[in-house]
Subunit: 362 residues, 2 copies
DNA sequence: CTGAAAGCGCTTACAG
DNA sequence: CTGAAAGCGCTTACAG
């Protein structure tokens, strides 16, 4: 009985033990080298017979290759590290772009959210480097300090998305100045002469550029005046700022908000103050939130192609892998102004057939 | 000259070659075992002198441990795999919860977005298993098919977030039926007697439960009637459905939408039809989108604690690592109804001091 | 407290 | 076409 119990345990242990390439080799009567070749390199010259035997035995035994060992032996991780400050709508869109392009290229994603902390960002990069990843993508946050090491000391190909106070990095950015210029132009060309620019902190590169574009367009216009309200970081603060603006009987007829979040807060304030958008006050935002199309009135917004930026960054990392890191070059994408603020921006004439059921009243 | 060139090349190569534990050991005059102990186990008994010598030499040489080798040697990856269907606001919130808890526990995240494809989900799990990850978190999508292998055959601790047609898995879910019951109760208690339930597909578990909760509450009310509109998946379809409803002179005074996206589409339709929310038609949604607070009127919504679900899933995986996978048990979280639809839900009396600058007109 | 050595499970020149 | 063997860079019983 004891004997039996022990053999049971052994059998269980046998089952538990992961079967490796050696077990497959033994069972198939070939060398581990052959098994490795059959399983890992589709085009390696092997007899059809051996190939079949090996694959059959491997599947029969339920062999699962240990990617850790492979990765270690080849020092190719097929993984890129991604460091992001937060996971809001903007970065989620960026991450989706990164993930899609990475999967396409057969790469996995190691993700770290580092907050606004330069320490944690550096720690994440340390981790990526120590893990011998094939590349890293660093997504800039508004208040980033400079990266602590130059790109050539990273040890892996690195791409930065967004503006960054560090020198020498390959970056994927968007022309915020141009975008802001266009958005301001949209407002000016519709007859607005006093425009408020609602923003957070113009020390941050993207927001500095948005301010620049705003000012640049206004500078071209004779009778136009701009007013800049800084220190507005979220909806609630935008709400308060605009409520105050209205209470002070502003002469402004338009608001350019540096983000859609601020724009939504502004619109809420205008609605609560009984002002109509855009007839009493036009509002334009940045980021083109998905919901911006569906608020009423819908919001004209500058679409930041965060997903395209993410995909581009992956493309650059892949290029570095094949052609060498020195082949990478920074790229600047163009944002697009989505003009709305007339309701019904989608086809509401063709009503879909919906299945409508009535519940019996209980 | 040639000699020099060659030595230059060698020097360069020397620089390029990653320095390993062996180089540090040689330079410090100790064994690799000692270096490993000093660098990896803080509490291992080593002379203070040797410890200092090793750490000094290591930092002087710029030694970066190869985590790949460590991981391989110990077969602890300190990484969990996360498979999600998409990266929308809901899943981004969930991912943020996962990431936060994982970082807290010293774990990295390998992320894969699998779309609505069961194939890709299985492939992602294969990848996670082959990479010997410490655990996997599978985030359910609405139209998931069952997982192809039972939990005990995964080879790693697995936790499923959300409802899933597969048996035997440890899950983290939310009580959707209860949430829907409460939301319906909110509408009924405010005097609404004919309520429309706007939903996508009641074959999907979460949406089936939301329908159930709706019906259950109505069944308790004598004079209340429910109407179910299915096949509504996004804002535009909700817009069309509600536009049609209004055109048909509905007697309903309230809409319970199965998602905030649908609710926002419904509100846009009501606004465009000249109806007021909530006086002409009340609207309640699910998901508590961040923007739902800031649309006007603001949207009452059921908050799905996606981040808490994510954190809980990580907690379970960690428990499996320490106490064994059999210690894991499914958990059900309670959603919360956020009642709004009265504007000004945040403090708009205390206006922040904003820095206001006027630009000179050009 | 320290070291020599085996081992983690693959890949891949090299030789046949 | 196939195999024996070295090697990837660590960790960790085991012995001293």
């Amino acid at each position: 009985m004891l004997q039996l119990a022990i053999s049971d345990v052994l059998a269980t242990m046998e089952l538990r033990k992961k079967i490796g390439i050696r077990d497959v080799a033994k069972a198939a009567g070939v060398s581990v080298a052959t098994v490795s070749r059959v399983l890992a390199k589709a085009d390696y010259p092997v007899t059809e017979e051996t190939r079949k035997r090996v694959t059959d035995v491997a599947t029969a035994m339920g062999y699962v290759p240990n990617l850790l060992a492979k990765t270690f032996a080849t020092s190719r991780t097929d993984t890129i590290g991604v460091a992001m400050p937060v996971l809001n709508a903007y970065y989620a869109k960026m991450l989706a772009g990164i993930e899609g392009a990475a999967t396409e290229a057969g790469l996995s994603i190691l993700l770290t959210i580092v907050g606004a902390s330069d320490e944690r960002r550096e720690a994440a990069i340390d981790q990526f480097v120590a893990r011998q990843l094939d590349g890293v993508i660093i997504c800039s946050g508004a208040k980033d300090g400079p990266l602590r090491r130059p790109p050539e000391q990273m040890g892996v190909p690195a791409v930065v998305i967004g503006q960054q106070p560090s020198e020498g990095y390959v970056t994927v950015t968007v022309d915020n100045r141009r975008a802001s210029y266009e958005a301001t132009d949209h407002l000016v060309s519709r007859g607005n002469r006093t425009i408020v620019f609602l923003t957070s902190n113009s020390d941050w590169p993207d927001f500095r550029d948005r301010l620049d574009g705003f000012q640049q367009r206004l500078a071209e216009e004779d009778r136009a005046t701009g007013q800049v309200i800084e220190g507005v970081y979220d909806e609630a603060q935008a709400y308060r700022a605009v409520t105050k603006l209205v209470a002070e009987q502003t002469t402004a007829t338009a608001i350019l908000a540096a983000t859609d979040r601020q724009a939504l807060g502004a619109m809420a304030a205008l609605a609560d103050a009984g002002l109509r958008v855009p007839s009493d006050m036009a509002v334009v935002g940045f980021d083109n939130y998905h919901t911006s199309e569906f608020v009423r009135p819908s919001l004209t917004s500058v679409d930041m192609p965060a997903d395209a930026m993410g995909a581009k960054a992956v493309e650059l990392v892949c290029m570095a892998k094949t052609a060498g890191a020195e082949k990478m070059a920074s790229v600047v994408l163009e944002p697009r102004l989505f003009i709305r603020q007339s309701s019904g921006s989608f086809d509401n004439a063709a009503l879909l057939a919906q299945s409508v059921k009535s519940l019996p009243s209980a």
